[in-house]
């Protein structure tokens, strides 16, 4: 055996790995998608807070509005909040697709390939099961479980979807699940947990991903 055989072997193995990854994972997820999703979530949280406190009473202080206001608010407002949540989700999703599409184009990858469709399918299934559970909680009047369940099922969706994309997504998923789990024990703080899980974490994650995968390309 000589060094030349070794070098070609290493090269071949490297090529095999690249093809395996490229054919089974969608790697063009953009960090900007995360930053965008996080920012829309923060705006959504701002709107929700405004709705919860039509007459801002300074005697209660900001702390009250961030925590107990949601817990004690009129339950009718819940349906407004659900509609708001859906709208924010759509805006975040469409923007996310826009940024990722831009990156895919730059990478010369197809946006709707096998892997990305599988990823979305996997996530949608988990989210649909979660939506069923959450609708049941609302129907049953167990409102305190709605917020934490959103975080938990969203985290599970990320963990499941991570098989078809950047594996880093997996860690984001675990953190979301953990946040949801803690939120179950601290139901007063749902708005804080939501703002952290859907807003702050997405922005942080987006920056980390951008730094890791996109910065060099700029």
């Amino acid at each position: 055996m000589n060094n030349e055989t070794k070098d070609t072997s290493i090269e071949t193995l490297h090529e095999i790995r690249t093809i395996m990854e490229r054919s089974s994972r969608f790697l063009s997820l953009s960090g900007w998608s995360g930053i965008w999703a996080g920012c829309t979530a923060l705006v959504g949280a701002g709107i929700a807070l405004k709705w919860l406190n039509p007459t801002f009473d300074s005697s209660h202080g900001l702390y009250y509005y961030l925590t107990e206001a949601l817990y004690y608010s009129d339950k009718n407002i819940l349906f407004h909040l659900i509609a708001l949540g859906f709208s924010i989700f759509l805006i975040a999703f469409i923007g996310g697709i826009y940024f990722t599409q831009r990156k895919a184009k730059k990478d010369g990858q197809k946006l709707w390939g096998k892997a990305s469709i599988q990823m979305i399918g996997q996530m949608a299934t988990t989210l649909a099961i979660g939506a069923f559970m959450i609708l049941f909680f609302i129907y049953d009047g167990a409102y305190q479980y709605v917020g934490p369940s959103c975080l938990i099922f969203y985290g599970l969706a990320l963990i499941n979807g991570s098989r078809y994309t950047l594996s880093d997504i997996r860690y984001l998923g675990f953190i979301e699940v953990m946040l949801g789990g803690i939120n179950l024990f601290l139901p007063y703080y749902t708005i804080l947990f939501w703002t952290t899980g859907f807003g702050v974490l997405h922005i942080l994650y987006g920056i980390i991903m951008w730094n890791k995968y996109e910065r060099k390309a700029v």
Binding site: M1, T5, S9, I10, R22, S23, K110
Partner: protein
Amino acid sequence: MSNPIEQLNKVFESRIRIGIMSALMVNEEVNFNDLKALIDVTDGNLATHLKTLEENNFIKVQKGFIGRKTNTTYIITKAGEKAFRMHLDALEKIIKGLN
């Protein structure tokens, strides 16, 4: 100990065949166009290599339709998987053997 270079499968000496096998190892099935984009080859070239792999019983061809368009997909056979794994093992031995 036998020489690992002798354990390398001659069929897998081409970059394109290696590419086809790699993609089929991790996917249940892959169609012609996806393979073409993945490995970056011309139609004719890809078809020739697919034929060789098929003749060796390493892959199976499935002809289907999406609407009116034909959709040919390829899947790896048990024999193909075994042969490719052995090839990978041999490559690994060559790399380790020289450390």
